[in-house]
């Protein structure tokens, strides 16, 4: 898929933004030389792109994150390096915006520069199986809060409806109506329907822009059990 110079992923916390951002950056790296991923989550001290820093750097993807991220110092802070995304037009950037409107508020400081360059895409990550975004109305409410907080409008939707490890093909196909309703209500295209790799063959003809993703961002207790990066 054609990408803009800057791609932002935002949505309700727990919607799967971080994992999708990591997957997307890896895909961009195949095509582009200079790819950076910025972790702008000022809210959540757990499960961040920072968890994958070594693996990303090993693949030539530079991670920009707060110097406090994953240090267990619970300080909400923005990375000073983030402005390099704006200034260096030769890079392809993936921005992982923090959860909900509070996370998006911090992102807003970069909005004027991103808007004036006008080479970006901002994607709303949605999951029907998250209770606070379980229907069109509640998802639109979250979407409006994020747009208001960061001062930017979404340009597309990623349907990431899943139930974690237990997700079945049926769970994904039955979320299509929900995604369509949001697409119709907002006029935004469904840019991807993200599915775990095992389900890709079953679903590739059945859902819009089916895109396989790996689960890179693991829950902390499970991290030790399985390291997907090794595979």
């Amino acid at each position: 898929m054609e990408s803009k110079r800057i791609t932002l992923f935002a949505g309700h916390y727990g919607s799967g933004k971080t994992n999708i951002a990591v997957n997307y950056a890896l895909r961009l790296k195949v095509k582009y030389d200079k790819v950076v991923i910025a972790d702008l989550d000022i809210v959540n001290p757990y499960f961040r792109s920072k968890d994958s820093e070594k693996q990303l750097e090993a693949r030539g993807i530079h991670l920009i994150s707060s110097e406090y991220a994953n240090t267990n110092v619970d300080v909400p802070a923005m990375p000073s390096e983030a402005y390099s995304i704006i200034d260096d037009k030769s890079i392809r950037a993936v921005i992982d915006v923090g959860g909900d409107d509070r996370g998006a508020l911090a992102m807003g400081r970069y909005a004027p520069a991103i808007l004036s360059e006008n080479d970006y895409e901002m994607l709303l990550v949605i999951n029907k199986y998250r209770p606070l975004t379980r229907d069109c109305a509640s998802t639109l409410a979250v979407m409006n809060e994020i747009e208001t907080a960061c001062g930017m409008k979404f340009t597309g939707i990623i349907n990431n409806s899943n139930l974690g490890d237990e997700t079945t093909a049926e769970d994904v196909t039955s979320s299509a109506a929900y995604a369509d309703e949001i697409a119709n209500a907002t006029g935004l295209p469904i840019r991807m329907t993200t599915v775990k790799e095992e389900l890709y063959d079953t679903l590739k003809e059945k859902v819009i822009n089916c895109t396989p993703i790996k689960l890179y961002v693991k829950q902390s207790w499970a991290k030790q059990e399985e390291d997907l990066w090794q595979k």
Partner: protein
């Protein structure tokens, strides 16, 4: 089958509390439980409930006292250092026979400690969550689904026995995401009219909620009565889960995240031909003494797997009357034992236990 949703432990707990009829939440932010307060802040105004960020933990627990005294289901949540600040209020709740649910999403200690998961508040929760003779019902979830189920259960037991209950979780349980069913069935209503201070309408005598009894005979009487209730709870409300105990020669005792890791280790040990199983306490008080004591007649050794410096191990040893050796497998300070850590202890127990 009930529809499943994907939830983070902390928010699943918060939603379960709302479904259990809790309309009063008072708290003060602290990592790693802040999502509970954030969720309540969003949901309570929508459903006509009260969310209030108090000026301190001490204020929050005393607001719980007020809501509980009025007969309302009330909940507060915090993490380890914050629970310590609430301890005076918890004792007042117990001394006034008030039901409430207190959530501790534990982090490493002592002192300010760190933000990573821990189980080092076991003693605090099960032995002494405040001053004076009293107990808390202590529930220990090991999955996001149990965060839901035990929140529901906690409110019910608190009302049933008129006492505070605690859900003892940890940073891992609070932060992990798993599919859950929120189908909890009917909420059982308890008649609180005989004691709740919720307005007489000038139709009855005042109900007085109080923990001050300056005559020692009277204070002793209330303490004795309370402990009779505690004896009933010990007899009727013990909850635990067994894993591969049928033929086990080694018994792991673990709760919460330690039980999740232990289960993996048990599967690996059995591949090596070591017969090991687990008894997982779901209620830490009342502790599953009888089932452990019965197991002591069958197994050759126990292992207490904890994220603490050997706290639950004391209850294991007491329960089995020191009939068999009990090994400790632990990591602390925010570290979680690995499958290998537990496997090493299993191997050790296999040889140590064989000597007895």
């Amino acid at each position: 089958m009930a529809e499943k949703v994907l939830m983070k432990g902390n928010e699943a707990l918060a939603e379960a509390a709302i479904m259990a009829g809790c309309r009063h939440y008072f708290g003060y932010p602290i990592t790693p439980q802040t999502e509970i307060a954030a969720y309540m802040a969003k949901r309570m105004p929508v459903i006509g409930g009260t969310f209030l960020q108090a000026e301190s933990e001490v204020a929050a627990i005393n607001m719980i006292y007020g809501a509980a005294a009025a007969g309302k289901r009330a909940m507060t949540s915090s993490s380890s250092p914050g629970i310590a600040l609430k301890s005076e209020g918890i004792s007042y709740l117990a001394g006034s026979d008030l039901p409430a649910l207190i959530i501790n999403v534990q982090r490493g200690g002592p002192g300010l400690g760190g933000i990573q998961p821990s189980q080092s508040d076991y003693f605090q929760a099960t032995k002494s969550a405040g001053h004076g003779d009293f107990k808390l019902i202590v529930l220990a979830p090991a999955s996001v689904q149990e965060m839901v189920d035990l929140t529901f259960k906690g409110f019910d037991l608190a009302d049933k026995y008129r006492m505070p209950a605690m859900l003892l979780s940890d940073g891992t349980m609070g932060q992990m995401m798993e599919p859950v069913s929120l189908d909890m069935g009917e909420v059982k209503e308890y008649d609180k009219s005989s004691w709740a201070a919720c307005g007489t309408k000038c139709e009855r005598e005042h109900n007085v909620v109080n923990s001050l009894f300056i005559q020692p005979e009277e204070l002793e009487k209330y303490n004795f009565e309370r402990y009779e209730r505690y004896a009933q709870i010990e007899a009727n409300e013990v909850m635990y889960d067994e894993y591969k105990m049928e033929d086990a020669e080694i018994c792991i005792v673990a709760y919460g995240v330690a039980a999740r890791v232990s289960q993996n280790a048990i599967d690996k040990a059995r591949e090596q031909g070591i017969k090991v199983g687990m008894i997982r306490p779901i209620t830490l008080w009342p502790f599953p003494k009888a089932v452990l004591n019965a197991a002591a007649d069958k197994v050759k050794a126990f292992i207490s797997v904890e994220l603490s410096m050997g706290q639950m191990i004391e209850d294991v040893e007491l329960s089995i009357r020191c009939k068999k050796p009990v090994l400790l497998c632990n990591r602390v300070g925010g570290m979680i034992p690995t499958t290998e850590d537990v496997l090493n202890s299993i191997n050790k127990a296999n040889s140590v236990g064989g000597d007895k």
